[in-house]
């Protein structure tokens, strides 16, 4: 059951990415072009997602378990440190170079031709480097 709801949540999330225009890098870069020909459309994506998200997290905050019985697992990290800021900087630069972030690039793999695959494989490589570096440290 939990696999099915997870799959369905992924489909709805992915349809949202497609309908919103987030899977179109040109559209995303238009939003990031704040100092040029700024296209505010993608701000409405965030507004729509937050309208629903704030309600959902408010409900989740009053529960200890999810509807299917698993504990609700919320992030516990609170520190604003160098990892958070430098990581976000690197992410933002990559986002601004290509117009893809992790969700939309995955939702482009089946229909977007070869370019999203190049980004996706490089992204997996970056994530793998992180895993190796973290394990070496431990």
């Amino acid at each position: 059951m939990s696999m099915l709801t997870s799959l369905l949540a992924g489909v709805i999330f992915g349809l949202g990415l497609v309908i919103s225009g987030m899977t179109n890098p040109a559209k995303v870069l238009g939003f990031l072009d704040l100092f040029g020909k700024w296209d505010p459309a993608m701000a409405f994506v965030m507004a729509g997602a937050l309208m629903v998200g704030t309600v959902a997290f408010r409900i989740a905050g009053k529960r200890t378990r999810a509807i299917l019985g698993a504990p609700i697992s919320l992030p516990t990290a609170r520190d604003i440190d160098r990892r958070l800021v430098l990581g976000s900087l690197a992410f933002g630069i990559g986002w601004g170079l290509a117009g893809y972030c992790p969700g939309p690039v995955m939702t482009s793999l089946a229909t977007g031709g070869g370019k999203p695959w190049i980004f996706f494989i490089a992204m997996l490589a970056g994530m793998a480097i992180f895993e190796i570096a973290e394990r070496r440290k431990a």
Binding site: M3, T5, G14, V18, L74, L86, G96, P102, A122, M127
Partner: protein, 143 residues
């Protein structure tokens, strides 16, 4: 104004997907965390730490399948990628590294983190958006 209906409706659906995963499965819909966590299991030595891969694979399969479902009812989604192969590779590497070190991306920090008023996620979101604005300004300024 009508140009903003689709982004708004799409955004609401993104919120609904995140709400479903949270309230039914008790999980955060942060794509870099779901994918990176799955990748991390490939590096894990103990079998038990590989146990919760199922919901991750299911969610990501849904993300991948969504445009096929969309395309079955209407024209496939339009996408214009101007970046070169080399730029895509560098950008992908930066996004993979950055989102894992920052423990989140547009969905985990942006949508979910801001929805639960996390100061940490606010700092992350302001930082990656600021870096995105600056990067496009530099790239388009130089072209």
């Amino acid at each position: 104004m009508s140009a903003y209906y689709a982004p708004l409706i799409g955004g609401i659906m993104i919120g609904l997907g995140a709400a479903m995963l949270l309230l039914l499965n008790g999980r955060i819909a942060g794509i870099s965390g779901i994918l990176g966590g799955l990748l991390g299991k490939a590096f894990a030595r103990q079998a038990e730490s590989r146990s919760d891969a199922g919901w991750r694979i299911a969610f990501l399969a849904g993300l991948v399948a969504a445009p096929l479902l969309y395309g079955a009812f209407t024209a496939p989604p339009a996408a214009q990628v101007d970046a070169s192969v080399g730029t895509l590779a560098v950008a992908g590497l930066l996004v993979g590294l950055g989102t894992r070190y920052a423990s989140g991306c547009t969905s985990g920090h942006g949508v979910c983190g801001l929805s639960r008023f996390s100061p940490r996620s606010l700092v992350a979101t302001v930082t990656f958006m600021g870096a995105g604005f600056a990067t496009v300004a530099v790239v388009r300024g130089l072209l």
